[in-house]
Amino acid sequence: MAARRPMRAFYLTLGIIAVLGALLIVWQTRLLRPARSVTETLASAPVASMSGAAATGHVLGSDSAPVEIVEFADFECPSCARFAILEWPEIQQRLIPTGRLKWRFMNFPLQGHTASPPAHLAAGCAGEQGRFFEMMDAIFNRQNEWATERNPARTIRDYAKQVGLDMSRFDACVETAHAKPGVDAEYAEGERLGVNATPTFFVNGREWPGLLNFDQIQAIVDSLAPAGGAKRAAPPARRR
C-alpha cells in the first residue's frame, strides 16, 4: 500500500503535465481563431483600380488563382522583413501551390531609406533572370547585415552569387540600372493608390488595413476560394 502512494502521485503528475501541454497546444491552434472577421474587414474596404500595364511587379502563383494579394514593400523596412521571415515561407509553401493564391510583389522604396534603392535594383536584376523571389528572401532574411552598411550594394551582390545568378549579366544590369524603370513604375503605382507605409497589402484590389499574418491570409483564401468548393460570391464593392 505504501508503495502505491508514490506511484499514484507520479501518475497524477504525468497526467497533469499531459493535460496542460495538450491545452497549450490546442490554444495555439487555429481552431480557436475565428476566420469570419477577415471577410468583414475586406467587405468594408474600397476597391482600388490597379493600372496593371506599366507596373506589373513580380508575380508568384497561378495566373488563374482566384485570390491575388499585392504587397507594396521596401527592402529596408523592418516590418517588411519580419513579414518575409515569419509569414512568407508558409505562404509560399502552403498556399501558393494550391493554385488559389497569386502573390504580386511591388517595389516601394520609401523616401529616406538610403540603403533600399540598391536592394530594389538588385532584386529587379535578379527578377530579369527569373530569381526575384529567391533574391527577395536573401535580402529580407539578412536585412540586418546590409541595411546599416555604407555600401550595401557590395554585400547584396554576394547574395546574388549565392542565389546562383549569372553574375556578368547581373553586374551589367546593376551598372546600367536596367531594372530601375520597373521599380520606379511600381513606386508610382503605389503613390497613385495612396500607399504611404510598408508593407501595404491589397487583396483582390481592396486595401487591407494594417499588417497581415499567415492565419489571416489563410482565412482570406479559404473565404474567397474554399479548397475543393465553389468560389463564394464577392462582397458588394465600393469603388474609388
Binding site: 506511484m7 495555439q28 487555429r30 519580419r82 508558409e90 509553401q93 499567415f214
Partner: protein
Amino acid sequence: MRHRMAVAVLALLGLLASAYLLLYKLGVVGSLACGGSGACERVQTSPYAQFLGVPVAAYGVAGFAALLAVALAGLRERWVDRATPSRALAAMAGVGVLFAAYLTYLEIAVIHDICRWCAFCALLITAILVVSLLGTRSVNRPPSR
C-alpha cells in the same frame, strides 16, 4: 525506479514539444511561439525539416512516445527489478542523441539559425540518455541460477 520515472516525465515533455512542432509543420498550428526572431520558422520551413520525406518532428513524436512507453512499462511489477527496460531506454536515447546532434549541426552549420524548440528537444533527449545510463548502473539484477 526513480530513473524510469524521471525518463517518463522527460519523454512526455519531449512528446509534447515534438507534437507541437509536427502540428505546425502540418499547418494545424498557425504560428510558433518562438521569440519573434523568425529562427524557428526558418528552421521548420527549411529543406532539412524533413528526413527521408518525413517531417523531423514526426521522428521526435515517435521516439519520445516509445521512450515514454518503455519507461512506464519499466515501472510495472514484472519489469521494475529488471535491467532490460533501463538498457532499452539507454539504447533508444543513444540513437536519439545522435540524431539530435546531426540536426543541431545542420542548424548551426547549414541553416545558421537555432530553433528553440528543437534545442529543447535535444536537451531532453540528452538528459534522458544520462538518466537512463545512471539507471542501468543502479537497477538490481536478479540472482544468477
